[in-house]
Point group: C2
Chain length 299, copies 2
């Protein structure tokens, strides 16, 4: 079944304790779409500037991503810079240049309107809703968000929460959205806000999904060497949604398995900068690591 | 099979964001023995002062704990005070009064020398070794430690590590012992120091066990209301060792299951002050929660 991914594309400047890289192909939709492209041929909706390099268009196309929804606007591509503390858990945003993203007004190509599975990557909630309204009959919609929108666009976000099937949050976002420190209680409160499911990511500590008919928790895949955590959450979402779209349903058992695929795609993501690891991996690599993860979590 | 627990008994003063309790029956060996007593009749080796209350002797005996190794020394029982930050993850020690613990020199009753399973709760490593040397032919020995001994008694601790089967550490201790931030790498390095297994506790984020023939990871049981985390790690150890002793072996499959029992006993511990929750729970309660946890971690 078809999966559409709507969100940002960025050139990232990433500093870790070991290395600094500039103009790394990144952005929420990029990471998600590349991860999902290991499962299906995702449809991408995003905007880039006319400085966007042809080699990057080719990299995305080479992943099997449908680029009909890639808008090239006059101006520069969105740029973001981040620096990680040695413990990887603390990230400082060093700069943000919205550029063409400032006027992002997603228009879905007609050929995308019949998409079954929808991922609304992190963006202004009003923009996420506008994009969603252009999908005719979505079967399963998951959205991401961030601390900024929880603070400055809370009403829109609450409205969005009533229109989607699942929200994916990290621990900090869940706590900020609910004012609840205990993550199980926070997840319950998020469910009360509308979505049927909440996927709660805890970084190196794994993730869980909670809803009326499912509660499943996983540790993260044990990565020995992290190179760059940027995009891990979006890669998780890509693996998760990719598995749903490939399977063609969002039944509880499919959602559980999707958590495994999300966890494993995220583990590949952090082992390289940008999409460099995931774009070289086949579904077979992912399946192999899923089996390994299963061996670690199964009695 | 028989389990022996060697460690401290304390009167704790615990402050949380919600409540303060004084002279709560606690201590590493107490928490461990009470948790283990849900599985077998553990043998306890510890020291108390002559202020130790008869009602607390009765409480421990009521749990089915063998108290032949309970030494009553002239002086006051060890006292410890701690205060938790609202997020539960940060604990401040408010005071420590060693009292009779200062001269603790564990002497095992002859009837304890044939113990099969041994838990050396947190204590001076030299004392732990001295106690261990009094067990004739232990089948499986697990030890706990703390940041203080890693700093001030490192050589003794390294010696201890070559004499035991398993070490149980929290994330902070594992990082301090190895100087390695990545917990998987830290665990590998601990294994290089001698023990066959390392059990690594991550508080609310669960725990994993790693060794040559086993690698198993679990999230924590989703506790909605924490009252007092004191003793959670020792209760984990008690459930873990209790299951091994009850099963009578330390095969990889038994170690995996022991992780479940450790996780669940710890979850009961944090729902009350001191031993008040665990002492009222039967093995059936634990089994029921183990099944619940399994449903959350099984595909």
């Amino acid at each position: 079944m078809s999966l559409i991914v709507i969100g940002t594309l960025a050139y990232d400047t990433v500093e870790t304790s070991f290395e600094k890289r500039e103009n790394v192909l990144g952005g929420s939709a990029t990471h998600c779409a590349v991860a999902a492209s290991r499962f299906v041929k995702p449809r991408l909706v995003t905007v880039v500037g006319n400085d966007f390099k042809e080699e990057h268009v080719e990299a995305l196309r080479g992943c099997g991503i449908n680029l009909d929804g890639l808008e090239v606007a006059d101006g520069k591509t969105f740029r973001w810079g981040g620096r990680y503390e040695p413990d990887w858990n603390t990230r400082h945003t060093t700069f943000t240049e919205l550029n063409v993203l400032g006027d992002f007004d997603p228009k879905l190509p007609d050929s995308y309107r019949d998409s079954n599975f929808v991922f609304l990557a992190n963006a202004v909630p009003a923009i996420q809703m506008k994009a969603l309204s252009q999908v005719d009959k979505p079967e399963f919609v998951m959205a991401d968000t961030m601390n900024l929108w929880i603070e400055v666009a809370r009403d829109d976000l609450l409205q969005l929460l009533t229109r989607i099937d699942a929200i994916i949050l990290n621990d900090e976002e869940a706590r900020m959205l609910t004012g609840e420190n205990n993550l199980i209680r926070a997840a319950s409160q998020v469910l009360d806000m509308g979505p049927r499911y909440v996927v709660l990511k805890k970084g190196e500590h794994g993730a869980f999904i909670m809803g009326k008919d499912v509660h499943f928790s996983l540790p993260s895949y044990p990565v020995v060497e992290v190179l760059d955590p940027t995009g891990a959450g979006d890669s998780f979402a890509g693996g998760f949604m990719g598995h749903l779209a490939k399977t063609g349903n969002a039944k509880p058992e499919t959602l559980r398995k999707a958590m495994l695929y999300g966890t494993v795609t995220a583990s590949f993501c952090v082992q390289g900068f940008g999409i460099e690891q995931l774009q070289t991996r086949a579904l077979a690599d992912i399946e192999s690591r899923v089996q390994e993860l299963l061996s670690i979590v199964t009695l």
